[in-house]
Symmetry: C2
Subunit: 329 residues, 2 copies
């Protein structure tokens, strides 16, 4: 929620001469994203988002992220198209940062998504998975299980200062994941961070998926598990089954789940909650307070994790076989 790097008009105008976007008319720092600095630009060629990559993004990953967005947009997925420079490159340099210009997508992210939106985001996620299958690059999930161990090692000693008993509780969760985490699931390109603020809607239609800076190769069903956590809980941390049904039906309307994925779903959902629990706890304990830092609740995902413990099958998240969806509709 911040602009970390200021840009002056002269250097921005000069930067834009490398892009086929016309002349600069205005630019405003926008309060979106937590990792990078973003500006909304108006030029004589239209509206664009300028992103300056701050230190948390590894510059070596930028060709993957931007190439993926280009590939997906050209494959019909509603996502921003990185604008290529006159020399063909997707990444430039501005104000001492790597920088990219992407097309601006109209649409709003929903503070209170309803079931109809969960269905739409499920379908959009499946489209992304299918379109990603022809993308030639690959990237390991930098927020996969090995990283959870590192985050936990960096938080464990102080965990009980956040809530008494948290250390023992998360130790148990870590060992469950270590013994039960599934291998060999259908895999490919996943978004890995498809929270409501990364999905734009116009009316009930998805108009854009944004923020591909955690995208990587991983199990498709793990991406669904992240969405179930991010989209289907109420403010009181109860799981809304209607939204779960809608999200999974939307997904399966495009890509039906295989049996092995259905069986793995409960542990994947629990693991996805653990992943966000661990990264937020780590940030809470390790990132100093500052004028530009707005830390997130370090226990939100703990509450979701506890809800997941009572769930044993994908059906309890709203999964139904494709045949019965077809029969019901």
């Amino acid at each position: 929620m911040a602009v970390y790097t200021d840009v002056n008009e002269e250097e921005l105008s000069s930067f834009l001469t490398s892009y086929p976007v016309g002349d600069l008319l205005s630019y405003k720092g926008i309060a979106e994203g937590t990792e990078n600095s973003n500006y909304l630009l108006h030029t004589t060629g239209g509206s664009f988002i300028l992103t300056l990559y701050e230190k948390r993004v590894n510059a070596d990953d930028l060709p993957f992220f931007l190439g993926l967005m280009q590939h997906l947009a050209q494959s019909g997925v509603e996502c921003p198209l990185p604008v290529a420079r006159q020399d063909g490159a997707l990444v430039g340099q501005l104000a001492g940062r790597h920088a990219a210009l992407i097309t601006f997508l109209e649409g709003m992210w929903l503070r209170k998504p309803a079931a109809v939106h969960c269905r739409a985001v499920g379908a959009a996620l499946a489209n992304l998975h299918i379109a990603g299958s022809s993308f030639p690059m690959a990237r390991t999930n930098s927020m996969g299980v090995p990283e959870w161990h590192r985050l936990w090692e960096g938080s464990r000693e102080e965990a009980d200062t956040v809530e008494p008993g948290l250390r023992e509780e998360l130790d148990r969760e870590m060992s469950i994941i270590d013994t039960q985490w599934p291998g060999d699931l259908p895999s490919g390109i996943v978004h890995a961070d498809l929270f409501p603020d990364n999905v734009f809607f116009l009316g009930d239609q998805v108009s854009g998926l944004i923020d591909f800076y955690f995208a990587c190769n991983d199990a498709f069903a793990y991406d669904i598990a992240i969405c179930l956590n991010a989209w289907c809980f109420e403010k009181d941390f109860s799981f809304n089954l209607t939204k779960g049904v809608a999200l999974l039906a939307g997904y399966q309307s495009v890509r039906p789940l295989e049996e092995i994925e259905v069986e793995a779903l409960p542990v994947l959902v629990r693991g996805a909650a653990l992943r966000f629990q661990l990264s937020r706890l780590y940030d809470w304990l390790n990132i100093p307070d500052g004028p530009l830092v707005k830390k997130r609740d370090p226990l939100e995902y703990m509450r979701k994790l506890r809800a997941h413990r009572h769930i044993r099958s994908a059906k309890e998240y709203g999964w139904t076989p494709v045949a019965s969806i077809a029969a019901a509709s």
Copy 2:
């Protein structure tokens, strides 16, 4: 530099039905302004700025501020036009705040203004002073000399913690202002905060003056004095005479200064520096740190104030009689 109040799409769309602006396409919180929350909206009717007024703005002043912007825009001053609701009102309610919708002005504020821009801003300020003379409402300057005393009372005891000796030095400045502050200068509507981030340019032309939330009735020359402080100093706190000459010549190309204003200019410039020194010092000492607060240097204006002590006449700020400007051009 923050968005204090979040708005959801539903309440925003509902709010907009009272305005003749079409349908909402997108809205982004923007990192501009320090007092209020601002969003850049795209609708089917164009681009707009939505402002939610936070507690530092007195709601009773909104009819003055918005009415003034409307009057100035309709008088040909380049400034945003408040969009009237279907019921004629300029102020609405959104997310528990007073809110207004104003037209979006293309243009960029300049991080490094040059003399040509200082000339343009001088002329724009004079146009504002002239156009404001037919505005029927009035507002006392809430940041006038009586307020300086209150700010100083709230900072004086702790001033030396910011810099040893500051208390004695500012005591002296306060007593100079108390004995030398001029009355009876030509007065009317002034902007009172025309810093570079409140002036948009397209090329070398002023495309918009924004942020009228300190506007009030005061001496025109005091408004010039604020601009000399805000536009004509270099990063090393040296006064750039070329910029001073340009700003004053630009102003006088529209409205020549009267002799009484020329004589008062040195004390007005010194007082203007004191006004920003006092408000920043007060904020530094009295506003708690927080994730959304980015406090400004509490000594920047002290350094400018010290530079002013060596100046005795308006000529040293770049003033020349109108006759000699005409002769030289």
